[in-house]
Subunit: 453 residues, 2 copies
């Protein structure tokens, strides 16, 4: 193939100008972000005016309105709602548990796991059996009949990554009730999914199986778990009472919230940045995933505020119902397929608002290597570690429709101290760390929009 | 050059065994550390039984005894004190300031800067002039006579690194009194050195010059600084009263505390790991530099606990008087010179107990590149970023006597929120983040001891 000199010159010039502009734009994105700390203002506003926002709740609908308005305020060219039916599980007014220490009845800090059925009105009362794995339950056989199964395998503390430790422990929470019911147990207590030792129970999704009896399941705080375990070590039978009022109501019509900056040259090529707008009904979902929501909005806002327009469209998606159904992400992916929309990359922030360290990238090698070349630009906010494998539960639904799934990787040691519990509040978020995450996403989205992938 | 086959085999085998052992040892250092979280236990103990520990204070001597005992408990082969004369500045019982808002007298949160003289017993009372640089003061000329100079240049928020922002602002604190006195001012208020906006004043060292009149100098909280600045914006003169009772007493005989694990093969080659045992008299010096102290002790303890012996000597030095004199480090360096001791490397931890990200290395290129090859081993605790330039104020004194000065680089966004203030308390330290720093230092010290540098 041969090019005329003039064509080569044009190509070279465009390339040079793109290359030389980016460091300047990156610097300005960083400076404006750190000067304003706008992400934190948004998160304070979301957590104080809306609070937590479980799928199906009135608060979630408030969050939808908040998202619409905040995307508009951020300067999006268009903002719209995408309809989606979402589940509606409610915790009920009261949830409690007691353990009998000899003749003394002591309260335990528990909370229903998401999706659990209620106990009968008068609760359940039974001897507890402590186990450390699903396999151990299977082996209990008839001994489990009429008992409450107490899953107490802690996080593996020796794992550097608490996310890895979570992955190694969460089967107790998610599938514990199924295995316990199979051997005739009447209820489940599961140790909270955290390295922290405190008295806050951490909720999270659990599953039932149609063919297996549904039994109520609750998380118990790590302090409570240690206490019950200590009582069991005496060798005497230990009795627990559990009262849950949770129930699943009919699905509710709701929405993903979407805003975008239109691309100047290739508007039909989309770079998605997103997080989930729903949270559990504990704390205010500041890190999970309020951080991801304001990261996504701020990524667009920072670009808009510079008065620059990306070549390709950058779209923020505030997904509905990540926590207990992924319905928002599934509806979004279905529409992407129907409309045959082209997504160059989908970037998710759902690992908290801590200082960003880099991105995990699921893509072919050439795209991965291209993103790696931007590492020096991402270093201005400390987010230069580009690792293989990344994405998130929401953008994961887009796997068939995009060639790069990307997840923001923040510093991770504190995340599960707060996750799905009353500890997940705004005071655990540092304004600069939060903003740095938004700037990192903004830089990456900008670079993909300019340079392609 | 030619080698016989057998010599080549021996070299190859030694090399292989060293190479293949290290990953296993690194893994065990990590697992044992994260399992025990022993650093945090030590830090809780230091901060609760000793508290803060300013040079010259009784508490500093308590800290010396604590350090001796804790190094012994960590399993050091030998532990000793190294004598050093240290300064003895005391804050006095009371320090306060007021600003007159019209006829209303309002309290300001202030604290004497380290080394400041007292005000007269009845305080000083004068109009304040707000400035943003030492140059601005020089230009005030006679207008400054009899006034209180109020240095109010904030941290540059746009800097990613708060350490860089600190470096760009700290001249106001350290040299502000000299320049103010030169133009006839009678006192100094300096905005606290932090990005945080709160009502805690942050102390720190200030200097006088023999040829210039000494005037009292205090830090004012950032909230107080913003308030006074707001009053000044009305255009009316603003009067401030300042009362300080601080004074400098005669020097005190004190100590560095040193412990070591003897090297099995080259005991006279030393790898130093260190932090400073003194702190300011605000908060309890949990991050600054309690973290560095327990990092250093734990680095040895982890190795000792594995029942392995390093080839070279690994020595922990708890330096006296980093904050207001560096006397400990100077005395240590002088003795290294006198004894002609060989220090292969000196690693300092004095940037807080946050999650470690890597190390800064001041050395020639070959040593730097060698350390970089260990990056995959340091990655097991997230400390794999090896950057040029590093060390610290204490190990910096060893520059003529060692060929590698190394500083631990933890995540840094929160550091100056706490630094030199009542905010620097144990609840700001995360047990796992703290331990990861100790493990990182332990790994690096071990690798240098085995592989040389």
């Amino acid at each position: 193939m041969r090019f005329s000199l003039s064509i080569l010159c044009v190509i070279f010039t465009i390339h040079l100008s793109a290359q030389s502009n980016n460091p300047d734009i990156v610097e300005r994105l960083k400076n404006n972000g750190l000067e304003s700390l706008h992400s934190y203002e948004m998160l304070k506003n979301l957590t104080s005016t809306v609070g937590n926002r479980l799928s199906g709740s009135e608060n979630y609908e408030k969050a939808v309105r908040w998202g619409m308005q905040t995307l508009k305020d951020a300067g999006c060219d268009s903002v719209w709602l995408e309809p989606v039916m979402i589940p509606h599980w409610v915790r009920g007014k009261s949830e409690k548990a007691f353990v009998w220490n000899g003749k003394k009845k002591e309260a335990l800090a528990v909370c229903a796991l998401g999706g659990s059925i209620a106990t009968p009105k008068n609760g359940i009362r039974a001897e507890v059996i402590e186990v450390h794995s699903l396999d151990e339950v299977k082996k209990l056989g008839v001994k489990a009949e009429g008992k409450i199964i107490f899953y107490n395998r802690p996080f593996d503390k020796t794992k550097f990554s608490p996310f890895e430790a979570y992955g190694g422990a969460v089967d107790q929470r998610s599938r514990g009730a199924i295995e316990a019911a199979k051997v005739g147990a009447i209820g489940v207590l599961a140790r909270s999914m955290t390295n922290a030792l405190d008295n806050e129970p951490h909720t999270g999704m659990m599953q039932y199986k149609d063919s297996v009896t549904k039994i109520p399941a609750a998380a118990i705080s790590t302090v409570g778990a240690e206490y019950v375990s200590g009582l069991l070590k005496t060798g005497k039978p230990v009795t627990v009472e559990l009262y849950l009022e949770c129930q699943t109501l009919p699905d509710v019509q709701s929405s993903n919230v979407i805003g975008e900056i239109h691309g100047a040259e290739l508007p039909h090529e989309i770079i998605l940045v997103g997080g989930h707008l729903d949270s559990w009904d504990k704390g205010v979902g500041a890190h999970d995933d309020g951080a991801g929501i304001v990261h996504s909005i701020e990524a667009l806002h920072l670009i808009k505020n510079l008065g620059i327009r990306p070549k390709r469209t950058i779209r923020a998606v505030l997904f509905a119902n990540e926590e207990n159904g992924l319905r928002g992400a599934k509806a979004y992916a279905a529409r992407v397929q129907n409309k045959n929309e082209k997504h160059l990359a989908a970037i998710e922030s759902d690992a908290g608002g801590f200082a960003p360290l880099g991105f995990g990238v699921t893509s072919d090698s050439s795209k991965f290597e291209k993103i790696k070349t931007w590492s020096p630009l991402l270093e201005v906010v400390g987010a230069d570690k580009i690792r293989r494998e990344g994405g998130g539960a929401d953008v994961g639904q887009l796997a068939p429709f995009t060639s790069a799934l990307i997840g923001l990787n923040p510093e991770q040691q504190r995340y599960f101290d707060y996750h799905h519990s009353n500890n997940d509040t705004i005071d655990k978020v540092h304004p600069r760390e939060l903003e740095l995450g938004a700037i990192a996403i903004s830089i990456l989205a900008w670079l993909i929009s300019q340079e392609g992938l």
